[in-house]
């Protein structure tokens, strides 16, 4: 009996299982959109504005149309449903009469070959009248700045809804300046009194530039219409149902006429949630009656993708000499680029309520500028916010001679404490991850390690930071079917990028009571899959995992009901052991899952097929916290930083698949180490990107990094499947602050602008530690 597997000890949740699509991926057989080559394929290219702001006086496409091999050349005039006042970037399919950022599509071409399409772009004549530009958000928000949006354009708050971050009250004050598209203000207590009674007031402005999500696969889509007027899109997307809705809205096609097939997604990180090139490709396919494929170049991605916003946070704090928090005043300016669509709430929550500030005044502004409009990037606005508050907390502790961990721990929120909006913090492991990292030998021995700096002239520093993510929510569905061979077929619409499908299979296995090897999970398209949310917001395992769990339990109940009838026993007396449902204590009296599966699949059978389903909606978030520690060496002459060690401690609630969890922790950390040290989209005064290549937009390579140590902490969430919390977002959050704090430890300079480039560091060192 001891070798038999009951529900409790199947190979399921908590086991490190490599994802099953590994062999396909390492042999190059997995197909991404650009790998699909249907017969009659046409290639699309977009003509993009060379100006950040210009009136389009005329467009002459006649020469391009006359080029042999060109099948269509279209401008905004050729698209009937285009809204004049585009509320989102997706709606701005082609510029109508004004271009509002460098790289905005103005005309589109479909041709037999890519080279022909490229040649056709050169033959399109556009007459522009350049207009004044607003590039710096602080200037763009002043009255009188050149306007970006047409008057009366609505703000886009769907990003905030998609991430279900947290609701905050919108400010009633009307926007005075033309380019402020969203604003909010939250206050508590009497900040002025708090500052007056403070012994230590610290004011700094933190700046993080626009950064690109950096997915290796550029945006790509393939569109084809069939003879019945149905549009099929093969898309590299983080959410096929969302892509369907957006394309439907932009082009005025009912959703039931659109099928989105989610193709393997070569990385998204938030940048492939919103529609971008799907609508224009669909239009080209409609006009030409041929399949049309569009793949962005890397230059187009960097110039005209949907990066993370530039964030500027002016932060002022007041504390007593003993470290008692008194008041906080903060102003967050989020540079949204040419279209609205950022999240204001995240910054307010973590500035004002990760630590217990008794009084605060927090203002947030979303500002439009003549730059590419932005989108989500893994924990939108959280790394930038944590860079501000965690740099600040460290500095306060140092100024007052307090232990920086004890200072944080003393003021850190507990579950139940109010967030800035008054809602209570849900159960979370913030304190546990901070305690755990403070116990790490690298932290305990930091003074000795710094003192042992070598004779190479490099200086050493150790820093840490804490950060969190509230966790996204979205209604979702799943089905679990019992196959005639006794295995399970799980169906969702979930796009698997990070390895969530194996985790979902493990959840189904544990919930039903079979090994994960007996579960196969399929990601269906929008025609066949139950409605499934975005792969975003650290919510796949938390929400889709719950749907799969419930569907598997439903399927198990159905199988047990069938077994009870077949065995003439009460379901309460049955157990599932090794793929066979038996009467407890009578192992010979049983029926295999395969038999039940077969009976549900037979001609003239009276046994119903087992089909478990669940379609939950959610209300309770499960915040995930991570703490990170960096040991760095700094060359004071060149400003070069070497990351010697990096430790990631994260509360994941329950590690459904430890391999996947570690991969998320390491990958997320490296993205924000890039944000900390090398990355930034740099625009000149005319709004033109000055570093539109991966040579000049420097992402970290293997040679820039050490092995990253991961420590998983499990503080179960009350509502998540098996106690799981979202895993994807927390690891990208603390690193820039941890590096900034380590840098301060090493050279005595508090740098407040990312990236912490060699120039900035060397200059700060040369200035005697002043940034």
């Amino acid at each position: 009996m001891s070798t038999m597997k009951t529900t409790r000890d199947v190979k399921g949740v908590g086991v490190a299982i490599p994802r099953p699509d590994g062999p396909e991926k390492v042999t190059g057989r997995v197909q991404y959109v650009a790998d699909i080559q249907p017969k009659g394929l046409l290639h699309a290219k977009l003509l993009r504005s060379p100006h950040a702001h210009a009136k389009i006086l005329s467009i002459d496409t006649s020469a391009a149309k006359a080029l042999p091999g060109v099948r269509a050349v279209i401008t905004a005039k050729d698209i009937p449903h285009l809204k004049k006042k585009a509320p989102t970037r997706a709606h701005a399919v082609l510029a109508i009469d004004r271009a509002v950022f460098v790289g905005q599509p103005v005309a589109a071409v479909a041709a037999d070959e890519l080279a022909i399409a490229e040649e056709a772009l050169d033959l399109i004549k556009v007459e522009y009248q350049p207009l004044p530009v607003a590039v710096d958000p602080l200037k763009a928000m002043q009255p009188g700045a050149p306007p970006v949006a047409d008057a009366g354009t609505e703000a886009d708050t769907s990003e905030a809804l998609a991430h279900s971050a947290v609701a905050i009250a919108k400010s009633d004050a009307p926007a005075k300046a033309v380019n402020i598209s969203q604003q909010a203000r939250l206050t508590r207590g009497e900040p002025a009194k708090g500052f007056a009674e403070s012994d230590h007031v610290l004011e700094k402005t933190y700046r993080v530039p626009m950064v690109h999500q950096g997915y290796l696969e550029p945006h790509a889509v393939l569109a084809e219409w069939d003879r019945n007027g149905l549009l099929t899109l093969w898309a590299s997307t983080q959410g096929s149902f969302n892509t369907r809705s957006e394309v439907s809205d932009v082009l005025g096609i009912p959703e039931n006429r659109i099928r989105v097939i989610p193709v393997e997604c070569g990385g998204g990180f938030g940048g492939k949630i919103r529609a971008l090139c799907e609508p224009i490709t669909a239009v080209l396919a409609q006009v030409t009656k041929r399949p049309v494929r569009y793949v962005m170049t890397r230059k187009e991605e960097l110039e005209a993708g949907m990066p993370a916003p530039q964030v500027i946070i002016k932060l002022k704090t007041g504390v007593k000499r003993d470290g008692t928090l008194m008041a906080l005043d903060a102003e967050t300016v989020i540079d949204s680029g040419a279209f609205s669509g950022t999240v204001l709430a995240v910054s307010a929550v973590f500035l004002g309520s990760m630590y217990k500030w008794p009084a605060f005044d927090i203002r947030g502004y979303e500002v439009l500028t003549h730059k590419p409009s932005v989108a989500a990037y893994r924990a939108p606005v959280a790394p930038q916010t944590i860079f501000a508050i965690e740099s600040h907390m460290e500095q306060i502790a140092r100024d007052l001679g307090l232990d920086s961990v004890e200072f944080r721990m003393r003021h850190l929120i507990q579950p139940g404490d109010p967030m800035v909006n008054g809602q209570p913090w849900q159960s979370n492991g913030a304190r546990q991850v901070l305690s755990r990292i403070a116990e790490h030998p690298h932290w305990k021995t930091r003074k000795q390690w710094v003192a042992a700096a070598g004779k190479n002239g490099k200086r050493r520093g150790v820093g840490l930071a804490l950060g969190g993510w509230l966790g996204g929510l979205q209604p979702t569905g799943a089905t679990v079917r019992l196959n005639p061979d006794g295995s399970l077929a799980v169906l969702t619409g979930q796009v698997d990028i990070a390895g969530t499908n194996i985790a979902l299979a493990q959840i189904a296995a544990s919930a039903f009571g079979v090994d994960t090897d007996e579960v196969r999970i399929t990601t269906g398209d929008t025609d066949v899959a139950p409605v499934t949310g975005l792969s975003a917001g650290s919510k796949t395992v938390y929400t889709v995992g719950t749907a799969v769990l419930q569907a598997a339990e439903d399927a198990r109940r159905q199988a047990f009901d069938i077994a009870a009838a077949e065995l003439e026993a009460s379901v309460h007396d049955l157990e599932l052991v090794d793929g066979k449902i038996t009467v407890r204590g009578m192992p010979d009296k049983g029926i295999t899952l395969a038999t039940i599966g077969k009976k549900g699949n037979l001609y003239m059978s009276k046994t119903p097929p087992v089909l478990g389903k669940a379609n939950p909606a959610f209300s309770q978030q499960a915040p995930g916290f991570a703490a990170q520690l960096a040991r760095i060496e700094v060359d004071p002459d060149t400003g070069e930083v070497t990351i010697h060690d990096f430790v990631i401690v994260q509360d994941v609630g329950k590690a459904i698949n430890p391999i996947g969890v570690e991969g998320q922790m390491q990958g997320g950390a490296v993205q924000s180490l890039g944000m900390a040290l090398t990355e930034g989209l740099m625009f000149d005064d005319s709004g033109r990107l000055t570093n539109p290549s991966l040579l000049d937009y420097r992402k970290l390579t293997a040679a820039d990094l050490p092995n990253l140590e991961t420590i998983i902490v499990e503080v179960p969430s009350p509502a998540g499947p098996f106690g799981a919390r979202g895993v994807g977002e927390p690891p990208i959050i603390p690193a820039p602050a941890a590096i900034g704090n380590a840098l301060h430890d090493a050279v005595g300079a508090r740098l407040t602008e990312l990236p912490l480039s060699p120039e900035r560091i060397a200059l700060a060192v040369a200035n005697g530690g002043k940034a």
């Binding site: 490190a16 042999t27 190059g28 057989r29 290796l216 990028i497 996947g660 991966l694």
Partner: protein, 162 residues
């Protein structure tokens, strides 16, 4: 423009394709020869996703013209191993759960294979520099380095890096 006949060896087999003088080796492999394992991540040689071997040397195939590969031996990810018989590097990548989105993986594996041909027992630093021309945005590289180290040990004990 007149097309040219490209004759070369790809993954051990002689092949022929009609290519434009401006066609890159990457495009010839992907579009004309149907080998879509090599990926285009940047088109400027900065990301390494298009990495292949040309006469045993690691090359960014997006930076090489197809006609420059005339009479030469090309090896792509499709020639490294098969799903049934994975190359030890591929096998280690699967077991350690390296691939996430997977887009960079063919290029990383070709870089790693070239590294092991040159240094059958690489140090961690040699591995990190060996794949420094390959950008990965998902993994943070840690599991990659572990997998390459392990595969190197297995290959070295077999006495061959092929």
């Amino acid at each position: 423009v007149a097309r040219h006949v490209l004759r070369c060896t790809v993954n051990g087999e002689p092949v022929e394709a009609l290519v434009q003088p401006y066609t890159t080796l990457l495009d010839a492999l992907r579009e004309d020869l149907g080998l879509t394992g090599p990926k285009e991540g940047c088109g400027t040689g900065d990301c390494g996703a298009c990495s292949v071997h040309v006469d045993g040397k690691l090359v960014a195939s997006c930076l090489m013209l197809a006609m420059q590969a005339r009479d030469r031996k090309i090896r792509t990810i499709e020639g490294l191993g098969t799903a049934e018989t994975l190359h030890p590097l591929q096998d280690a990548f699967v077991r350690h759960g390296v691939p996430q989105c997977g887009f960079c993986i063919p290029g990383v594996l070709m870089a790693a294979a070239a590294l092991l041909e040159e240094h059958p027992r690489p140090t961690e630093e040699q591995i990190r520099y060996g794949i420094a021309g390959n950008l990965c945005r998902c993994t943070g590289y840690t599991k990659m380095v572990t997998a390459i180290t392990e595969a190197a040990g297995i290959l070295a004990s077999k006495g061959s890096a092929r």
